[in-house]
């Protein structure tokens, strides 16, 4: 079972206390966007084998949305961070790079 620390209330919550929200940092194209961008926003997902940035909600806790970085192959959690950001914090990226030298890095 996954254990994620909610960056807002500091609780180390297990997976049953949280709701997964899918891939994070997606550009939300709206009215006026071309078909490609809109399709990308709605359906295209990176689905990586390895480092994945994703959204979670502390549903049975403080109720807030936050972000997490996790490995989809090993389920290792690299860290969690605020929901109020468009990209992962530099410190977290550096930490992941140290652990996974082959990782291509964060791609928007």
């Amino acid at each position: 079972m996954l254990l994620l620390t909610c960056p807002y209330c500091g609780v180390e919550a297990d997976e049953t206390e949280l709701t997964p929200g899918g891939e994070a940092h997606i550009t939300r194209h709206g009215a006026g966007a071309n078909d490609d961008d809109f399709e990308t926003y709605l359906f295209m997902r990176k689905n990586p084998k390895g480092v994945h940035f994703e959204r979670w909600r502390h549903a049975f806790g403080c109720g807030k949305w936050f972000h997490a970085a996790r490995c989809t192959m090993t389920l290792e959690v690299f860290g969690t961070y605020s929901g109020q950001t468009f990209e992962p914090p530099k410190t977290l990226i550096n930490k992941i790079k140290k652990k996974r030298p082959d990782w291509e890095g964060f791609v928007k």
């Binding site: 079972m1 996954l2 997976e15 049953t16 709701t19 997964p20 899918g22 891939e23 078909d35 490609d36 809109f38 399709e39 990308t40 709605l42 359906f43 295209m44 997902r45 990176k46 689905n47 990586p48 084998k49 994945h52 994703e54 996790r70 989809t72 192959m73 090993t74 389920l75």
Partner: protein
């Protein structure tokens, strides 16, 4: 290939069973093929088989990074049904179901297809209306289903508890010609038939790159060297994203783990397949006597191929209400398979932006039942270069065009 028959068994009995041969060859790859299929699961092998049988294309290699049928083909709960709401889904699943009926004779391999009937319980008012609608749609589509009363449910499945405190059984969608089959045998039977047609099934060979020139496929790089091909079919379920990346295109697919479990074997107690979508569990009894139970998916992307205990608990907790006897069973094994989920919960059988490269993926939680139909449609696509009727609605372009095959209500939960 020596045919399997009662006579063959008698003949072998007289010579200490020394005359059985390997069911399929394990050759080294040739330098070039007409068609390379990546993925020797049910869908890949079925595609190869129908390419040979329906189109006479036999210079084919099926490449598998693990072992044949070792992915989701060997990890599902073996349910076969075609009671879908949308026309394109009903058509392809019904094609598959009908092919299952004659598969053992067709392949000369006993796939143990058992049309024991599949029942989807209605446990809320919304489900009653939903399944009545599906029954009407199925009648128009030529798929035999009916909506049955709780009394009939009890008659068909005496171990069920109709009056559950939370979710009483209010009726069911009943497909009498649905059922189960031996999942491994489906892969093995196709593999044997393909090998007999001269196709090469190459296991333990991982594709590491896709060669292309001027927008068209020319071959693949593998752990057993480069192999040239005129056409490439990618049929790798949860790994589709990886192969698409090698081909230089994207897919609207996410991979997650879906799990199942089996109990200790017990005497026959249930001769139908029952699915309960509201509480999210489904159960049938295997020929060995184990209760085969399907559970939930993880809510997040992963490639771990293992189960998680809280999902097991949820599934079994829900089943105990409807089948109280389950509470006395010991569970023996649980496992997970990596399924590829698309945006509209329907599969993709499509051309790709890369010329002569075709993809079949996105079967999500319900691929096993579709194997022969999917292989049939994919063979049509690969052989002719354009999808025919069965596959025409399942193109990749539908996500951009907003032309979804929305089965998420009818089937997005339990398959």
């Amino acid at each position: 290939m020596k045919r399997y028959s009662a006579f063959a068994i008698a003949r072998e009995a007289f010579r200490h069973h020394a005359g059985w041969e390997r069911a399929w060859r394990s050759p080294e790859p040739k330098s070039e093929y007409d068609v390379i299929i990546v993925g020797a699961g049910g869908h890949g092998l079925a595609t190869a088989y129908y390419l040979g049988k329906n189109f006479g294309i036999t210079n084919v290699a099926v490449i598998e990074k693990g072992w044949l049928g070792g992915g989701n083909t060997g990890r599902n709960t073996t349910i076969i049904r075609s009671n879908y709401l949308q026309d394109p889904s009903a058509a392809i699943y019904e094609k598959a179901r009908s092919l299952y009926e004659t598969m053992s004779q067709d392949l000369n391999y006993n796939v143990m297809f058992s049309p024991r009937g599949v029942m989807m319980l209605a446990q809320t008012q919304a489900e009653i209306r939903g399944y009545q609608r599906t029954a009407h749609a199925n009648n128009l589509q030529g798929v035999t289903t009916e909506f049955i009363t709780p009394e009939r449910v009890k008659e068909l499945c005496p171990i069920i508890e109709l009056g559950g405190p939370r979710y009483p059984v209010l009726g069911a969608l009943w497909q009498p010609r649905g059922g189960t089959a031996r999942h491994d045998a489906v892969a093995w039977g196709y593999a044997r038939a393909c090998s007999d047609m001269g196709m090469d099934i190459i296991q333990q060979c991982e594709v590491t790159g896709i060669d292309q020139s001027r927008g068209k496929v020319t071959g693949v790089q593998t752990t057993k060297g480069a192999i040239k091909t005129k056409k490439l079919a990618i049929i790798v379920a949860g790994n589709s994203g990886d192969l698409a990346k090698m081909g230089g295109f994207r897919l609207p697919v996410e991979s997650i783990s879906l799990q199942a479990l089996v109990s200790e074997p017990i005497k026959p107690c249930m001769d139908v397949v029952i699915m309960a979508n509201t509480v999210h569990g489904y159960m049938s009894q295997s020929d060995k006597g184990e209760m085969v139970i399907g559970g939930g998916t993880d809510g997040y992307n992963n490639f771990t191929q293992r189960g998680s205990y809280h999902h097991l608990e949820e599934t079994v907790r829900a089943l105990i209400e409807t089948f109280p006897m389950v509470s006395r069973l010991k569970m023996l094994r649980h496992w997970g398979g990596i399924i590829d989920i698309t945006g509209d919960r329907s599969p993709i059988i499509s051309k790709t932006p890369l010329g002569n490269c075709f993809i079949n993926c996105g079967w999500g939680t319900g691929g096993f039942k579709a194997i022969p139909g999917s292989g049939w449609a994919m063979a049509e696509l690969v052989a002719g270069g354009e999808p025919r009727e069965l596959a025409s609605a399942f193109g990749l372009e539908r996500y951009q065009e907003g032309r979804f095959i929305d089965e998420s209500v009818a089937a997005g939960v339990a398959h």
